[in-house]
């Protein structure tokens, strides 16, 4: 490795210390704001308008339902199309909420239902829709009006809304709310109208979908419209999925899609040149500027700092209790000692008394003392004496000397025929004792020898190093490489076991079958057996037992911890070798060690998950952080490459726009394509990403002939202009032509509606 490269890495590992402290953003999510009182003044103003000049305008969007009066400049309220209804059993009362109010209560939050089918602009839950409309009408001050809503209603609907869906809503508006008239229009076209568009291509990317609709002379060419099933909702869900996968090992915070939605809104942007920007996104230089850190709430582990005094007191208390325990123990020991001495006294007395008695009397006395014979008495006395002596020395604090003298083995040398029965018994016992004693001595000697051998080895190693440093270093290097290879091999084996067809697993299966069969004929055992008859010599060689190990690996991961231990050992060995090399080899620097290779500053995944600073898994603040980097451009990029990034099998918007502008429109006679090019209009909340217009421009420029008059403009307010457009249009003569009155509804049915320039076609 070139020295400059290592310098660079060293500086990187240290460089983060020069970085400013990270900017963290608190996590945001949709929440309850405040109670909104019904606004009666709106209705009063509506009544004061000249007849036919007031209508209720509802932009019925899947992200937000915006409602207000047609004569005002902005909607009175904007609520998400959700409701929550539950029964409080304690109060025996049903509660229902709509819009943001659902977030006010935890129980309500758990009962939230959405009016729209997830990820689409089609209403699928009509009870929710009714609730949301109830809420809207109450807040608009319509409650108190007897017999229904007495204002015309203008609503938006999805492009090419399903007839069933439209029919159901019409039914609700007329039957349930009794409105005098109703008209639907398409939100993005209203927005285009508000922004004074005549002919152009409307690119509307909203919450539930992205639509491209060419508009000619203020009339939408719906037959040429194209929908891409990707909107803000999908982006949020996608980001949520990505975050969960990024921290798939377990993120302690609670993630939800509302938070992801906020993150998309706040941190994502469209990249002007995706591939180039992407390739360098995780580079260490400047990563701190490219990443955004979101901090989730956490509770800091409180470490109570104890004062010096307190610590002293605690230590004192500990010592005190220790002393007390010691005293108690000493007392108990003393008591036991006294008891033993008394017993000794008693047995000695017995001994004294039986010394000059006849056999019968001796037997009686011994029986009294619950002893079998004199030998037993002697043994008891000897044992008591020994234990008393031991206790005494211990009390005095003296070291307990190892069995000073070897036990008496005198009988062992005496031939059996010279001994009586008791003697034989004793001899057997002595033999046992002796073998024990010898074994202990042998083990001790072996230990000593091993110690000496290691010391000798170390000495030789040392000597070799001093005399032949180069050779010694070379040996160490080779040893290190061998160990590394071993580690690698082990890892490979482990990985192989995951694969059913690998050699490793096949051998394992063979072993299992072999062990289980009645007449085993393994590759190694079989041949031996044929030679050596049917003697099962399994276990003669210690390595035989390895078979069980090889079978157990991976069978159940919990049991294979000795395997892990072995790995630890290998790594420890490598570490020891590296420590030697570090001290004596000047060419071997920290950068070459295994630790350095695994260091965070070399890891792409570290940069991806934790940014350009080290990560401390014990800090709750750091574990509760989300680092957004590649996602910032990856999520909005889906609009341009839906299939490659999110697996949506549709063309991206540049391709769609190109198709409309270069294929579909020119094939229609009498149209001037350039007219559409001069006004490519962006609306909808999902187009608000930074660079969205620039990216679309560069993408389209590549598809169009040189010098094409391409103009891309954004809506003044991509979110509210749809409502404003609808409000401005609501009471114009052309709108009135499209109004379906209550009479018409009653006469012609719920599926009846009139086509107009800004609405859906009959289909």
């Amino acid at each position: 490795m070139a020295p400059s490269a290592t310098d660079d890495i060293v500086s990187r590992r240290e460089a983060w210390k020069q970085l400013p402290p990270p900017t963290v953003y608190p996590v945001k999510e949709a929440r309850f704001e405040k109670y909104l009182p019904p606004q009666v003044d709106g209705r009063e103003r509506a009544l004061a308008q000249p007849p036919g000049q007031a209508a209720i305008v509802i932009d019925n969007g899947s992200s937000s339902v915006r409602a207000g009066w047609s004569f005002e400049s902005k909607p009175r309220l904007a609520i998400p199309p959700i409701m929550a209804k539950y029964r409080d059993r304690k109060l025996n009362k049903t509660f229902s909420f709509a819009g943001q109010d659902c977030y006010a209560d935890t129980t309500a939050r758990g009962h939230i239902r959405n009016a729209f089918e997830a990820g689409t602009g089609i209403i699928s839950n009509w009870d929710v829709m009714e609730h949301v409309l109830d809420h809207v009408f109450i807040k608009l001050g319509m409650n108190g009006v007897e017999g229904g809503i007495d204002m015309p209603i203008v609503m938006t609907e999805a492009v090419a809304n399903l007839p069933y869906s439209r029919k159901s809503l019409t039914e609700i508006i007329f039957e349930c709310y009794g409105a005098p008239s109703l008209v639907y229009g398409i939100d993005s076209l209203f927005s285009y109208r508000y922004n004074k568009g005549q002919t152009g291509l409307v690119v509307s990317s909203s919450y539930s979908a992205t639509h491209l609709i060419p508009v000619y002379n203020s009339k939408a060419m719906l037959a040429q419209a194209i929908r891409l099933n990707w909107g803000g909702w999908h982006a949020a869900e996608y980001l949520l999925k990505l975050i969960k996968l990024k921290y798939h090992t377990g993120f302690p915070g609670k993630l939800n899609s509302s938070q992801a939605e906020q993150m998309v809104r706040d941190f994502c942007y469209v990249s002007l040149d995706y591939d180039r920007e992407l390739a360098r996104f995780l580079d260490w230089t400047g990563l701190e500027d490219r990443e955004r850190i979101v901090q989730y709430p956490y509770t800091e582990e409180v470490v109570v700092q104890k004062t010096e005094e307190e610590l002293a007191r605690i230590a004192e208390r500990k010592k005190e209790s220790g002393r007390r325990l010691q005293e108690q123990a000493a007392k108990m020991r003393l008591e036991r000692l006294m008891k033993k001495e008394q017993e000794l006294e008693y047995y000695k007395d017995v001994q004294r008394r039986i010394a000059d008695q006849n056999k019968k009397e001796v037997k009686r006395l011994l029986d009294e003392a619950e002893l079998k014979d004199e030998a037993a008495l002697e043994r008891v006395i000897r044992e008591l004496e020994r234990s008393i002596k031991r206790a005494r020395t211990k009390d005095l604090g003296g070291e307990q000397e190892e069995e000073q003298e070897a036990p008496d083995f005198s009988l062992l040398d005496v031939p059996d025929d010279q001994l009586d029965e008791a003697g034989l018994k004793q001899k057997r016992q002595q033999r046992l004792l002796k073998s024990n004693h010898d074994a202990r001595a042998r083990a001790k000697a072996e230990k000593e020898a091993e110690k000496a051998r290691i010391a000798e080895e170390a000495r030789l190693d040392e000597e070799r190093r001093i005399n032949d440093l180069e050779g010694w270093l070379e040996d160490k290097r080779q040893a290190r490489l061998a160990k590394l290879a071993q580690i690698k091999e082990r890892e490979r084996l482990k990985a192989d076991l995951g694969n059913r067809k690998s050699l490793a697993s096949q051998i394992r299966m063979k072993n299992i079958a072999n062990l289980a069969s009645d007449n085993p004929s393994g590759a190694s055992g079989g041949r031996k057996r044929r030679r050596g008859g049917d003697d099962d010599d399994f276990g003669a060689d210690d390595a035989d037992w390895g078979v069980y190990r090889s079978v157990a690996i991976g069978a159940n991961k919990g049991d294979s911890d000795d395997d892990e231990e072995g790995e630890e050992d290998l790594e420890a060995a490598v570490r020891a070798l590296e420590a030697d090399l570090l001290t004596y080899d000047k060419d071997f620097t920290y950068e070459h060690t295994l630790d350095a290779q695994k260091d965070w500053s070399k890891s792409l995944l570290h940069a991806f998950r934790y940014g350009p600073r080290p990560f401390d898994p014990s800090s709750p603040a750091e574990t509760h952080r989300i680092h957004l980097n590649v996602e910032r451009i990856r999520v909005p990029e889906v609009l341009f490459q839906p299939s490659a990034i999110a697996g949506v099998d549709q063309a991206g918007i540049v391709e769609i726009a190109g198709d409309i502008l270069t294929q579909r429109l020119p094939s229609i006679a009498g149209l001037d394509r350039d007219q559409f090019l001069r006004d490519v209009f962006l609306t909808g909340g999902n187009t608000l990403f930074q660079n969205f217009d620039e990216r679309l421009r560069s993408g389209l420029t590549a598809l169009l002939p040189a010098g094409a008059p391409l103009v891309i403009r954004r809506a003044e307010d991509a979110v509210l202009d749809a409502w404003r457009g609808a409000a401005g249009w609501a009471c114009t003569p052309e709108a009135k032509k499209a109004w379906v009155t209550r009479e018409e509804y009653l006469e012609k049915g719920a599926e009846y509606f009139k086509e107009h320039d800004l609405g859906n076609a009959f289909g």
Partner: protein, 202 residues
């Protein structure tokens, strides 16, 4: 809930809930006799399924040219404000009520072709209206891309020159590969799912 503060907070919260609740509000603007169909909640799949079944039955039913079809279909004839987009040929074309659209086209292609060829000459050659079938929810969906797909790493999102044949995940470099191979069971599949490339068991 013993200390007074918590109790007060609880009471305030309860008051807020009561205030926000719209269940207890009597809504005068609602028709008290409104009894919606209990089974009106349908998802898109059901709606589309129902619609195509209905269409199929309409096609299967022999119809005369009297125009006495279902009322909804009858409305179609004269009441549309812009005459341009209603079928220009009245009942002469055989079946005016049947809108040409793709869902139907798959069912009765020959009929559609016939209808189109019949209606073509009489169509006004106004540029803004087209001869394409009317936009429906299903047929305005964008077609799959024709451009070659780029490959991105399933883990990091970076350009991915490699594909792991075992997990079928795309990856950026050696380190990511090592991570992929050490993933616990099933996690790899989740990564694939984000790209829509996971295996769906049916």
């Amino acid at each position: 809930m013993s200390n007074p503060e918590a109790q007060a907070a609880q009471a305030a919260h309860q008051a807020l809930i009561e205030q926000l609740d719209i269940h207890s509000i009597h809504k005068t603007f609602r028709n008290p006799h409104w009894r919606p169909n209990q089974r009106r909640n349908k998802n898109i799949k059901t709606i589309l399924g129902d619609a195509s079944r209905k269409e199929a039955s309409v096609i299967a039913t022999p119809q005369d040219n009297s125009g006495a079809a279902t009322p909804a279909l009858q409305d179609n004839d004269g009441l549309s404000t812009s005459g341009t987009s209603t079928p220009a040929v009245p009942s002469a074309s055989g079946n005016p009520s049947l809108q040409p659209n793709l869902a139907q086209a798959s069912r009765s292609l020959s009929k559609l072709v016939l209808e189109k060829s019949l209606s073509a000459p009489s169509k006004p050659s106004n540029g803004a209206t087209s001869s394409a079938p009317t936009a429906t929810y299903t047929n305005i969906e964008s077609a799959p891309s024709l451009a070659p797909l780029k490959h991105y790493c399933d883990v990091t999102g970076l350009p991915a020159p490699y594909l792991d044949p075992k997990t079928r995940m795309r990856y950026h470099n050696r380190e990511v590969f090592a991570m992929i191979r050490n993933l616990p069971q099933g996690v790899g599949e989740q990564f694939l799912e984000a790209r829509g490339a996971h295996t769906v068991l049916k």
